[in-house]
């Protein structure tokens, strides 16, 4: 999260210090792990039976996004043009 002090002080922002980004990524990994474990500790009330599969939403979220990005990247070959294409 950004802080307001970055404008006034010439010292480097926390985000710019080496290792900060890795800390964020590790934090995200911990969060993901906690969420996976959490799946086993409550009664999952779902509409469909397949939603009951442990980590269904986690896998769905990850796979969808990887598919989305790779497919979109492929679409670039077909759709991408120069900025002044229509000018």
């Amino acid at each position: 999260m950004p802080h307001d002090d970055s404008q006034k002080t010439p010292s480097r922002h926390w985000l710019e210090r080496p290792g900060s980004v890795n800390k964020l990524i590790r934090g995200l990994a911990v969060f993901c792990a906690v969420l996976l474990v959490a799946d086993f500790f409550y009664e999952k009330l779902t509409h469909y039976a397949w939603e009951q599969a442990p980590a269904f939403y986690a896998v769905f979220g990850f796979v969808s996004c990887v598919f989305l990005v790779i497919a979109a990247k492929g679409l670039r070959r077909l759709l991408m043009r120069d900025e002044d294409y229509y000018d």
Partner: protein
């Protein structure tokens, strides 16, 4: 005021005074108008009507019920936020057209007949055009023309459908119509254009990013949500809307991932969000319609917030291209924070507004056994987090440092974004506030353990996918480029086709003229020889000669007559 002025007219008439006001008076006036308007509609009871007969047509200028009230309310809120955001703007054209546009949309929400709807439908088209033209660039001028043509076409279809429907049924009522005849079909397509149905959508992504910094904020709120309102009013439960909506949630997110103009990314995600609402209308149960209305309400606020934050970036940094931005969190920390709130809301993070509204639609989809649609909406939910939730704030404020150092957004912009962000969080924390305004009673709790955990799983693992794709270098970089969309058909293919037909015709005509030329020339020479002055018929006649011929002609006539 409540009795002699239809809702929305406070803004339309109030706009006329704006060019004569300057300084603080003008600012106070601008902020007072939406407040007055909001008080007016909340002063009218449900069931209030204002009917009149004009040229034998039964018109209904005002109809107040829960559906029109909630849309009117959020439209006034959006106008209020937009006006704060635009408080520094001195361009009369822009301010006046923004006010009239908002007023026309609000008036349209409250009318009860299709003729009045048509009038305000077209008024929103014409007034909003100037928010694009006020950018005063060649590109904006051309985008505005295309926008106008599409919008007017939508209105023409609405009018044609209305007239056919009137001839069929004798009714002009703007109520439940259903897709049952040619007339209602035309109205459906007219609504569908404004709601940016797939293949009818390109005007949105084409025009919105070309409008002014403040204009896009207004545009994002009214036109498409007016269409959502109209669809909910007239086509609730029309099943074809379910696949249409599902398709709408999906295809724009692919574009959003590779689009470079961050306001255009937001336009694509706007289109995707409309898809969720359209699905809700198609399902048509009370819960689904509640979901659509709640999502429209939440969406107007977080979308305005996102467009405000990107507008502020454009205003200060002078560009909105992902390939040129990055690292702006140092210069614009407040704007970055507000943008993240908007991003969390559109991504439906628990405790933010999108979570409590979108889940109504998803639950209704599952309850009514639209399994495939349910999965598509889940995919789209992960996708919207990916591009609107992560990509927009990431490439504008973080990523690699672009070296751009600029001022933080002006105070009025920060206040507008602050209020919008507070509303996004407030609705997420206290969903009952919004649920109590919905057209049907709500028996739904978004904050169940299952729902919170599954949604967090979906979102955090989508975020993990982003990190994974970035780290492995698979994620496509932001490139200075555009992507072809359906508008290619009328911007490139159409003109080329017309040019090709024209060239072919010209060639054919030339060839014909060449081959037939000699015959034409011979005939022309003959005619000239006969009729030009030296020819027999070209010679001037003497009076006696002429009299003789006239007399002979007379004799011939008499002979024929007495035969």
């Amino acid at each position: 005021m409540t009795e002699w002025l239809p809702p929305g007219f406070v803004l339309i008439l109030g706009a006329l005074f704006v060019p004569f006001l300057r300084g603080h008076t003008r600012k106070v006036w601008l902020l007072l108008l939406p407040v007055l308007g909001l008080l007016q509609i909340w002063g009218l009871p449900n069931g209030y009507e204002w009917n009149l007969t004009l040229f034998g047509f039964d018109l209904q200028l005002v109809r107040v019920d829960a559906l029109s009230r909630i849309f009117g309310t959020v439209f006034y809120l959006a106008a209020f936020l937009g006006l704060i955001f635009a408080l520094h703007v001195e361009d009369d054209l822009e301010v006046v057209s923004a006010l009239m546009y908002a007023g026309a949309a609000i008036a349209a929400v409250f009318v009860g007949d299709l003729i009045s709807l048509f009038v305000f439908w077209e008024l929103t088209a014409v007034t909003s055009l100037f928010l694009i033209w006020a950018r005063r660039t060649e590109r904006a001028y051309r985008a505005g023309l295309r926008y106008l043509i599409v919008q007017v076409t939508s209105g023409v279809l609405l009018l044609a459908g209305t007239l056919i429907h009137y001839a069929d049924t004798g009714s002009l009522a703007f109520g439940s119509l259903g897709l049952v005849s040619l007339g209602t079909g035309l109205i459906f397509v007219g609504f569908g254009i404004k709601a940016a149905f797939p293949l009818l959508h390109a005007w949105l992504e084409d025009a919105y990013p070309e409008a002014t910094v403040t204009g896009t904020v207004f545009l994002s709120a009214f036109t498409t949500k007016l269409a959502i309102y109209a669809l909910a009013r007239s086509f609730a439960g029309t099943e074809i809307l379910v696949p249409i909506g599902a398709l709408m949630t999906v295809f724009p997110i692919f574009y959003a991932v590779i689009e470079n103009d961050l306001r255009r990314v937001l336009a694509y995600s706007l289109n995707n969000q409309l898809g969720f609402m359209v699905v809700g209308i198609g399902i048509g149960t009370e819960m689904a319609l509640n979901g659509t209305v709640a999502h429209a309400f939440a969406h107007i606020l977080y979308k305005a917030l996102l467009f405000m934050s990107m507008g502020a970036v454009l205003f200060r940094a002078g560009t909105i291209k992902g390939s040129e931005l990055g690292g702006l969190y140092k210069s614009m920390p407040w704007t970055a924070a507000f943008c993240i709130v908007g991003a969390a809301s559109i991504s439906a993070f628990p405790l933010f507004s999108g979570f409590i509204s979108k889940s109504l639609i998803l639950a209704a989809t599952a309850d009514n056994h639209y399994t495939l649609t349910f999965l598509v909406l889940l995919f789209a939910s992960a996708g919207v987090f990916h591009h609107a939730g992560i990509k927009v704030p990431y490439f504008a404020f973080f990523a690699h440092d672009s070296g751009i150092r600029c001022e933080e957004a002006p105070l009025n912009m920060r206040i507008a974004m602050g209020i919008a962000a507070a509303l996004c969080i407030g609705l997420g924390l206290w969903p009952g506030l919004l649920y109590s305004l919905l057209p049907f009673p709500v028996n739904f709790d978004p904050y169940t353990t299952t729902h919170v955990v599954t949604q967090l799983q979906l979102l955090f693992f989508a975020a993990a996918a982003f990190v994974f794709l970035q780290k492995t270098g698979i994620y496509p970089p932001e490139l200075a480029s555009i992507n072809l969309d359906v508008d290619w058909l009328y911007r490139r293919a159409g003109p080329r086709l017309v040019a090709a037909i024209g060239a072919t015709w010209a060639r054919t005509r030339e060839a014909l003229a060449h081959s037939a030329g000699r015959h034409f020339e011979a005939a022309a020479a003959q005619l000239r020889a006969l009729h030009a002055p030296p020819g027999v018929l070209g010679e001037p006649w003497s009076t006696s000669q002429a009299t003789l011929w006239v007399a002979l002609a007379l004799v011939a006539c008499l002979a024929v007559a007495y035969w």
